[in-house]
């Protein structure tokens, strides 16, 4: 005799398990994403988060790009009207970003002069990131690059 718990299971659990196995099956993934498919289990635990941020730089620094959780940040729109060196999400603006089980990917490319730096503070669903503030200084090549996961 089936327990009440098991009685409720069949229809959607079967459907869901089928969905998950489709995502993870090697047949469904293309050859080039073999290693990526291996991450499927981890990625299925990924969720979206609403991101707000503040980015400050010294005046010699120029940004090539900033992406948080695989979402490109529109720095031109977020530049402070009275301070060209500060960028922030204005008003109720939020970016919908991907947070994976092992953290949120933050990638930044910037150029600057020796002594230059940038500082980034990020909030996920209004909660400050534990790694705040994230900082980079100009390296020997005139770059201030960052490509790491944070939580």
């Amino acid at each position: 005799m089936m327990t009440p718990k098991k009685k409720g299971l069949p229809r959607f659990i079967t459907a869901a398990r089928a969905a998950i196995s489709t995502a993870g099956s090697p047949g469904a993934a293309s050859a080039r994403s073999t290693s990526a498919a291996a991450k499927a289990a981890t990625l299925s635990a990924g969720a979206t988060v609403a991101v707000t941020y503040t980015l400050k730089k010294t005046s010699d620094v120029t940004f090539m790009n900033l992406a948080i959780g695989f979402t490109p940040i529109d720095l031109a729109a977020d530049q402070d009207p009275s301070d060209a060196n500060t960028f922030t999400t204005k008003g109720s603006k939020k970016y919908t970003c991907l947070k994976e089980a092992d953290g949120i990917q933050i990638t930044c490319r910037a150029n600057g002069k020796s002594g230059g730096s940038w500082t980034l503070t990020v909030q996920l669903d209004g909660t400050p990131l534990g790694d705040n503030p994230i900082e980079e200084e100009t390296d020997g090549n005139g770059h201030l690059d960052h490509d790491k996961k944070h939580s």
């Binding site: 009440p4 409720g8 010699d60």
Partner: protein
């Protein structure tokens, strides 16, 4: 009855040696010429009020009012080509506002400058890689997947219709799922458990509602599964392109070129004592001189790596030597004698004296800047060697002169200027004929304000 006129020059108004005059001319040229964003002529602006994107600097000591409009903020973001432009207008009383209030001296100096430049960034490989990564971030594969990950934000109507304990429990469970998903498997398991409990308790309506939610989550999961292959491929591509870009950038230094054209007009109006003895009266020896000048510079900057910026510019300028003059106060006394009585009328003049010349000249400027870090609070910019050639033409009264030096300036890490020191030779090849040694033509001092003349300043 007799009329006599005495013209006296008050102490403090002495003639200045030609060498000193030219040094002053250079010093003033250095202190007032283009700096921040090339156009801001008010090099001495002590306070800055920001208004609607324009900088208005007002310095009481220098009595300067200037406004700068530019799009320099755009250069905070890299793109293959950035067009930068600026416009600056300023007007000031050369003798300072306090002199205007105290003495009524008014020597107007007005300038209108503009510049336009093109900055060309980076290498083609680097930009191409960056563009490919940006395109992937914006691709449907990434955006649709992230959008599908969002849990539905609206609860099924049934759970909202009552505050009965079972509905509140379901409502809270669903809200917790929406707020932060623990993963599809766990969410589904908790829904299943809840449904089982409701069924056991004989609440089929509640169990059916849970079934609706579970179906919707399953549909969403199927959509995610359908998108996941493309997403994983795109994500994998982004990760490997980023690694490629990181590798490329670790082996190549950043560099950019800026080419600019900088031009402007300036005007001054001042009282001048001509000393012309052929004039019919002493008062007729005072002239009001109006001068219109202008300049145009073509410059190029090369930014290389973390440390170096090189700059050079060549330009033409219409100039005068007003800066080398000193002001003098004159008292013109007119004495009328009638029957042993004298009536003395005293007229005061304030005027410049000297050998006034308006002339044309070429300006050639070079700079080599080295950027460095002192500590976390301070950084420095060392203008390792700067040269200024000022070559007048069409006049023998002004000689060409080479000015060269080295200057180190310190900034707070935020970019605020905090001072510096310089050493320079105001006349490297002794064209002024001072006849003394090279060493004695060297000067050094403390810098209160400095501009890198042939360089589009990046620290302002």
């Amino acid at each position: 009855m007799k009329n006599t006129a005495n013209l006296s020059i008050k102490p403090g108004a002495s003639s200045i040696g030609r060498c000193l005059a030219y040094t002053m001319l250079l010093a003033l040229f250095l202190s007032t010429s283009a700096q921040a964003q090339i156009t801001s002529q008010d090099a001495d602006g002590q306070s800055s009020i920001l208004y609607q994107g324009s900088n208005i600097n007002f310095d009481l000591g220098k009595a300067a009012l200037s406004a700068t409009w530019n799009n320099y903020r755009k250069s905070a973001l890299d793109s293959p080509h950035i067009l930068i432009w600026g416009l600056s207008a300023s007007s000031k009383n050369k003798d300072g506002l306090s002199e205007l209030f105290n003495q009524g001296k008014l020597t107007t100096l007005s300038r209108l400058d503009g510049f336009i430049g093109l900055r060309i960034n980076g290498t083609k490989q680097e930009l191409a890689l960056n563009n490919r990564i940006t395109a992937l971030y914006r691709s449907a594969a990434i955006r649709d997947y992230i959008a599908a990950l969002n849990y539905p934000t609206a609860l099924p109507g049934w759970v909202n219709t009552s505050d009965a304990a079972d509905r509140v429990e379901l409502r809270d469970t669903l809200k917790a799922m929406m707020k932060h998903s623990a993963g599809f498997d766990k969410d589904l398991a908790s829904l299943t458990e809840l449904e089982a409990r409701f069924k056991t308790a004989g609440r089929p309506a509640a169990a059916a509602a849970i079934q609706v939610v579970a179906d919707s989550l399953t549909a969403r999961q199927k959509k995610i599964a359908a998108l996941q292959t493309d997403f994983l491929a795109a994500q994998h591509q982004i990760v490997s392109l980023n690694a490629e870009l990181t590798e490329y950038r670790s082996n190549h230094v950043s560099h950019s070129w800026t080419i600019y054209l900088n031009g402007g007009w300036n005007a001054n109006k001042f009282n001048f004592y001509s000393g012309d003895t052929t004039r019919p009266s002493l008062s007729a020896r005072f002239d009001t001189v109006k001068f219109w000048g202008g300049f145009i510079d073509l410059g190029v900057n090369y930014d290389f790596g973390a440390h170096w910026t090189f700059g050079a510019s060549i330009g033409y300028e219409r100039y005068n030597n007003l800066d080398s003059f000193s002001t003098n106060d004159f008292d013109l006394e007119t004495v009328s004698t009638v029957n042993n009585q004298e009536l003395i009328q005293d007229t005061k003049y304030s005027a410049y004296t000297g050998h006034y010349v308006a002339y044309n000249r070429y300006n050639l400027k070079t700079d080599a800047l080295y950027f460095g870090k002192v500590n976390d609070d301070y950084r420095y910019v060392w203008n390792v060697l700067y040269t200024r050639l000022i070559a007048p033409f069409g006049t023998s009264a002004i000689r060409s002169i080479w000015n060269a030096g080295s200057c180190i300036t310190f900034y707070k890490s935020s970019g605020k200027f905090s001072g510096g020191i310089y050493v320079q030779s105001t006349d490297v090849f002794d064209h002024m004929g001072a006849g003394n040694s090279f060493g004695s033509r060297l000067s050094f001092g403390v810098v209160a304000k400095y501009s890198f003349q042939s360089i589009v300043d990046r620290l302002k």
